[in-house]
Symmetry: C2
Subunit: 330 residues, 2 copies
């Protein structure tokens, strides 16, 4: 069956609040550098009060990936839950404005649209404190069967293992995708997510996943090993395809017996690493959905990541399809 | 009397929605390139629906200037009206987080926080469509006497000539400032504002203003002449001090008989000109309040403007005091 979408993604629908910070700020607020922590509404408000002036922009890992796929000229759909408020309106606008399909009804009368407070160090590394708000009200009923069955790749956030209702949505999407012979992809999202849900993630990967995205910290945490190559080898026994990123060292991608070592694209100055993994996944999956060679998929991922880390914000600020064409990748 | 604030500014409190656009987009939506147009809520919603994905950030001309003064290490206060909603919360946070004084109570039960839809062309020029929302509910009662009397310079937006209640706030602030021997500064804001309120602006300048900020389009519109130097000469007959900017050609500043021709700071790439005039005013007034020579005031303005046009968003993304120190200006 021809796919209506290159990628359909399910995730926590989040608006990002991005501000610069110092290392001292992280220490003072006992924030783990580079991590994603969950906070409740009161903690979110207190931390926001202490943060520097910021920029607000639509975020959410899978949402960023959908925006990246659309920016590459791909057809993309998003499933996630915002509230019926101003930030929800911003999220919805941005998703539709990039050309992505998004029609999950907003939550009325519940918590506010999720927000992630992102503190960015001078070297570009980001630390996120996320108040999940309305996003955790995503239920299996919000997973549109037609969207999932119509996507070449169904992409799921590891972050969805945190809220229990969302895991049901996750399971429904995976089941529908499997029944329709669609590829199922997952990102491990964060090494603390892996810590919290190692067994469940491992079981899901072994049982259902075709394609795994991870970074070095996540994959070594998953297998509780120190060595990157050893972790990749262990993943290889469990998943038929994967792309494992390692910041400025690029990525290692494999599909069956095939492997490619993909360099990172050089960046003049790393401003904000938020969205780097999300955009990598966007580039890789766009290439995969369009039948491009494995290495080109990896290069598309690297290119998309290089654009997003060169400015504040987790989504592309130029059309990635123009960048990719200029690089001769599409 | 020693001043508690270097600058107290009164303006329309606005959140900016910034997105890239094409020249064709402006034509299709009959938007005047480079201008600021007022739109109602329905027009704002319709235009937002057509815009590209964007960034949200606190804006408003005088608000941006206050943020710039604070970023230079100055003491600044802001008077403007937001609503009791998420975007109002963002505006309030950003003002306080930069260290500025802001305690005007938010509007409850009225229109939403003002938003300006800013479409940015590839060359960085911005076109703004502003829904004034809650900002026009600013009244004279919101003008805190202690704040105005405690500021070395009281800075007023020409944009405030649009809402009639705000003009009363404007008049109150000017009266209090005059009674306390404070400097009164005004920015002409926009050539269309000058068209709409030429007589009232001229009368206000001649009768009450010590310092005028304008760009080339505004000042030639004010005097209905084509020649920049002629317009500056005409302004000189009416206001004791002024700073008139002309984009990449820098600015002409005078104070009494003294004149300085100030170059612009070079910028690697102009990304978004939003806030250029606002930051120029911030730099100039910070220098003036600290008793720096006229030319240094102009250079501080140029430096602050050069930072803000090098990224999306109308407020500094680095501490301007560090930049100014590196340039040997402070």
């Amino acid at each position: 069956m021809t796919a209506a979408y290159d990628v359909a993604a399910i995730g926590n629908a989040i608006v990002d609040v991005i501000a610069p910070c110092s290392a001292q700020f992280l220490t003072e607020h006992t924030l783990e550098r580079g991590a994603m922590m969950l906070v409740d509404e009161a903690e979110s408000a207190a931390l926001y009060g202490a943060m520097a002036p910021g920029l607000e922009t639509s975020g959410g890992s899978a949402g960023n990936t959908v925006a990246g796929v659309a920016s590459l000229g791909g057809r993309a759909a998003y499933i996630g839950k915002v509230a019926d408020d101003q930030l929800g309106e911003v999220f919805t606008h941005d998703m539709r404005a990039i050309g992505a399909h998004f029609d999950v009804p907003p939550l009325v009368g519940g918590p506010a649209t999720a927000r992630s407070l992102i503190n960015v160090l001078p070297d570009g590394e980001r630390t996120m404190c996320t108040f999940l708000g309305a996003s955790v009200e995503l239920t299996a009923a919000d997973v549109d069967q037609e969207v999932v069955e119509g996507a070449a790749i169904v992409y799921l956030e590891g972050y969805l293992f945190d809220p229990s209702e969302a895991r049901k949505a996750f399971a429904k999407a995976a089941g529908l995708a499997r029944a329709s012979d669609r590829l199922i992809a997952i990102t491990l999202s964060d090494s603390f997510v892996v810590e919290r849900h190692r067994e469940a993630l491992m079981e899901f990967i072994e049982g259902q996943v075709d394609l795994v995205f991870a970074n070095a910290a996540e994959i070594t945490s998953l297998f509780r090993v120190d060595d990157f190559d050893q972790a990749v080898a262990l993943l290889r026994e469990r998943a038929p395809m994967a792309a494992v990123t390692r910041s400025e060292q690029g990525s290692v991608v494999y599909s069956g017996a095939q492997t490619a070592i993909v360099p990172a694209y050089p960046v003049q100055k790393v401003v904000d690493t938020t969205g780097a993994g999300d955009q990598y996944a966007a580039g890789f999956m766009f290439g995969l959905a369009r039948g491009l060679p494995l290495e080109v998929c990896g290069r598309l991922g690297s290119l998309a990541a290089s654009e997003v880390i060169s400015h504040y914000g987790p989504r592309p600020q130029v059309w990635l399809k123009d960048l990719a064409a200029a690089e001769g990748l599409i």
